[in-house]
């Protein structure tokens, strides 16, 4: 165990991979208050939701999108009343650190020409939430048609970010939280929040939950103290 603990293991939290740093920090501050440290498992939201569907015994779930939460709610796997939207995020256009690209966000902005024949790295718009938000935003900004054929669809946001950081793609669209953590890229433009549905990370307690601390940790995450941790990592809170 990484920490001497008196009370044994804390509650088991299944969380979207993009929350890794922030949720780890939140769990640390919770543990510093004398609670046993929650056990955190990070993977794709889809994988975690299917594990929950299979009745794997866990306590909390933080999803990267509402749909998988809905999926679990429909199967009565969420403790009623425990679901809450607690984090928000923004999309940004990133370019390699050396690039001078910059965009003024208005409908029809010259995204395609800025690619210069290269590809736009995004999380897969057909499956990954970040990609779906990106498609929605670009469609509303009337540039989707022009870049649709020039996408590099990555498995997740971090992989899309890596494509830009490695110079394989000249531009990419990722979450603001990811962009601020990668020194090899710079933000070339903020996608207007109105251009897409709000990006929210819902949290809920699971019906399989049996850990006595589960509810307390959920409340901590939703408390001002908990939310402050996430704001440090660039998330917005509700």
């Amino acid at each position: 165990r990484t920490q001497a603990q008196v009370g044994g293991r804390g509650p088991l939290v299944l969380a979207a991979a993009s929350l890794q740093e922030a949720l780890t920090a939140a769990a640390d501050s919770w543990a510093r208050k004398g609670h046993s440290r929650p056990v955190l498992s990070f993977a794709a939201s889809s994988a975690l939701a299917r594990q929950i569907e299979a009745k794997a015994p866990a306590d909390l779930f933080v999803s990267a999108d509402e749909e998988w939460m809905d999926f679990l709610a429909a199967r009565k796997l969420l403790v009623p009343g425990s679901r809450a939207d607690f984090l928000t995020n923004r999309l940004v256009i990133v370019a390699p650190a050396a690039s001078r690209a910059g965009f003024a966000m208005r409908p029809g902005f010259p995204l395609a020409s800025a690619l210069g024949g290269g590809r736009l790295a995004v999380a897969d718009p057909d499956s990954v939430p970040a990609g779906r938000y990106a498609r929605e935003a670009l469609t509303n900004l009337k540039v989707w048609q022009t870049v649709q054929m020039s996408l590099a669809r990555a498995e997740n946001v971090r992989a899309a970010l890596a494509l830009v950081a490695r110079g394989a793609a000249p531009l990419g669209i990722v979450y603001a939280t990811d962009a601020r953590a990668e020194p090899a890229v710079r933000v070339a433009g903020w996608i207007p929040a109105e251009a897409h549905r709000p990006i929210t990370y819902p949290l809920a307690r699971l019906t399989t939950s049996s850990h006595p601390d589960a509810e307390a940790f959920r409340r901590f995450l939703l408390s001002g103290e908990g939310k402050a941790v996430f704001r440090r990592f660039g998330f917005g809170t509700r």
């Binding site: 498992s41 993977a43 594990q51 009745k55 794997a56 953590a181």
Partner: protein
């Protein structure tokens, strides 16, 4: 290396060894059946064995999840035995074993097919029954394939990621093996240092396995061919 990283290495070793040891007997039986028997549907069995190779690992992980869910067939069986593999290292070992199985079967099958049946016949005339012949002649002569299968299985288990994270999630000290830790580090900006360190550990473990297998080969010195086959 931090203490946490050592823990991950030990867990990986435990999972991979268990997967290899658990899969080896099954792989041998399958290899033997495929090498020696002719029966209708043999190609289907062969196809089934190859399945974990052909399907993306996450699908295999998902199928395992369905099978071993408390209401799934495997889950009910294990529940009778009072065992649960969900979110447990034993589940990680199962995932690794399933993914490694096709590699092990192929290697063992190749060696079994190269065993000269005339030597087995000779053993029978010397008084060995079918089982004794198997243990004293067939198995030792197929040893190169068994060893190769074990090494391949161990290495493949060390690298197993997709089926594991899908089946048993990514739980520290329980299912977070080296590949999952590497994946997690890859997700972190500035995680490159940890990625390299963990990757090096994985490589070192596999090199150790290779050295051990070479030593075993040399010790057994299985003299192939030669007079009087």
């Amino acid at each position: 290396m931090t203490g946490e990283e050592w823990g991950i290495v030990l867990l990986s070793l435990q999972v991979s060894l268990a997967a290899m040891a658990g899969a080896l007997p099954l792989a041998f039986v399958l290899a033997w059946v495929l090498a020696r028997l002719q029966f209708p549907g043999k190609i289907l069995l062969d196809g089934l064995v190859h399945l974990p190779l052909v399907l993306p690992p996450v699908v295999i992980g998902w199928l395992l999840l369905i099978a071993f869910a408390p209401e799934g067939p495997g889950g009910r069986l294990l529940a009778l035995l009072g065992v649960s593999v969900l979110f447990r290292w034993t589940g990680a070992a199962i995932a690794a074993a399933v993914m490694a199985l096709p590699l092990m079967v192929r290697a063992i099958r190749l060696s079994l097919e190269a065993v000269d049946p005339r030597l087995e016949a000779a053993a029978r005339t010397l008084g060995a029954g079918p089982w004794q012949t198997f243990w004293t002649i067939t198995l030792p002569l197929a040893a190169p394939g068994v060893l190769a299968g074990a090494v391949l299985g161990f290495a493949r288990s060390l690298g197993e990621f997709g089926a594991t994270i899908t089946f048993v999630s990514n739980i520290p000290d329980e299912t977070r093996t080296l590949p999952l830790a590497i994946y997690a580090a890859l997700q972190l900006p500035g995680g490159d240092g940890a990625v390299w360190r963990l990757a090096l550990m994985a490589v070192a473990l596999s090199l150790a396995a290779l050295v051990a297998s070479e030593a075993l080969t040399r010790a057994s010195g299985s003299g192939r061919g030669g007079h009087v086959l």
